[in-house]
């Protein structure tokens, strides 16, 4: 599977590493080259410097034949916009993004975007720990 991951922060880099180790073809995209320090030395994928909201950068990342796109930058709105570009303009089959704001996540879920709100997920997990 060819996967583009936009945002090489802790989550993005972790995911890129995991998928790479499983043998997938991974392209990690970030606007700050310093972020790529989080990728392990034996990372076989590609680290690409560029803005994931830019169609040209996405094409260079190979979005036209990518199987999946993941948007995990720090900004909800950037993730939402990039994910919609991947889904609606490049017709990538599997698109997932992170939206911290639970209400915004609900709205975009209704609009057909697969989104995870770490806020809800983490709050639920912590609550579960308290109750166990």
């Amino acid at each position: 599977m060819k996967v583009i991951i936009m945002g090489c922060g802790r989550v993005g880099a972790q995911m890129a590493t995991m998928l790479d180790q499983e043998g997938h073809s991974v392209i990690a995209l970030d606007t700050d080259a310093y972020s790529f320090r989080r990728l392990p030395p034996d990372f076989k994928g590609e680290a690409l410097l560029g803005d994931g909201l830019d169609e040209d950068v996405l094409r260079r990342a190979g979005i036209e034949d990518a199987d999946a796109f993941v948007a995990v930058t720090q900004e909800d709105n950037r993730n939402v916009m990039a994910a919609q570009i991947a889904q609606k303009i490049f017709n990538v089959k599997k698109v997932v993004c992170r939206i911290y704001d639970p209400l915004r996540r609900d709205l975009y879920s209704v609009l057909g975007l697969e989104a995870i709100s770490p806020t809800i997920v983490l709050a639920e997990m912590l609550k579960e720990k308290l109750e166990s």
Partner: protein, 222 residues
């Protein structure tokens, strides 16, 4: 009309003032508390502090009964989300977004924003227009079903393929109509088959955006 403006920067502030003068009911949503206070002191309590990309803030603003939402912040992605929340969550009939990165204009339209205003291109075109030698100026982009069409001003240049030829003799790209020729302060006229183009003619044309290059070559290329 109830209008919501997102972003209290220079553009949002000026727009708010102008629309208030026209007698509209208006609400400005601005993130920054200081900016918000300043505007409220000057224009009366019309500024709500908060992030307009949040559903809760738009609910508080009464977006459900708004006729129009205009997103004017300097961040394209914020303008997109503010418009999408208004449109898809609160069914606002018309959303307008300021776009700073020109390539985003098309994306925004595909993602449901009704109208985009590309501030970068407007400034660029105004300046281009003032450069006397510039052969091609975008005057207007059509909207709705014909959004791939635009109205252009072309300046015919000596030595190009079209100059000293009649309209019948030149081959125009597909779907192009030359609507008007303006020459030496004469009365503007509609070109006919036997009209001979002269160097310096200003031609107003309606054309698909993707044939610009061809038109440029025809009227200005050597």
């Amino acid at each position: 009309m109830y209008i919501i403006i997102v972003g209290g920067g220079r553009l949002g502030y000026s727009l708010t003032k102008a629309l208030l003068n026209e007698g509209h009911e208006l609400l400005l949503i601005e993130k920054n508390a200081d900016v918000c206070d300043k505007i409220n002191k000057e224009l009366g309590s019309i500024c709500l502090r908060g992030d307009a990309c949040e559903t809760a803030i738009q609910a508080e603003a009464g977006t459900g009964r708004a006729d129009l939402l205009i997103a004017t912040t300097g961040e394209d992605e914020d303008n997109l989300v503010a418009c999408q929340v208004a449109k898809y969550r609160f069914n606002v009939p018309r959303t307008i977004a300021r776009v700073r990165v020109p390539r985003n204009e098309q994306i925004f339209k595909q993602l449901g924003v009704d109208v985009t205003v590309n501030s970068t291109n407007i400034i660029l075109e105004r300046i281009e227009h003032e450069v006397p030698s510039h052969p091609l100026t975008h005057l207007f982009c059509l909207t709705g079903d014909n959004r791939e069409m635009e109205i252009l001003e072309i300046r015919a240049t000596a030595g190009s393929a079209a100059v000293n030829k009649t309209l019948n003799e030149i081959v125009l790209p597909n779907k192009v109509v030359l609507g008007l020729v303006i020459r030496n302060g004469e009365k503007p006229f509609v070109p006919r088959g036997d009209t001979v183009f002269k160097s310096g003619d200003q031609i107003i044309a309606v054309a698909p955006t993707n044939v610009e290059e061809e038109l440029h070559t025809l009227f200005s290329g050597k």
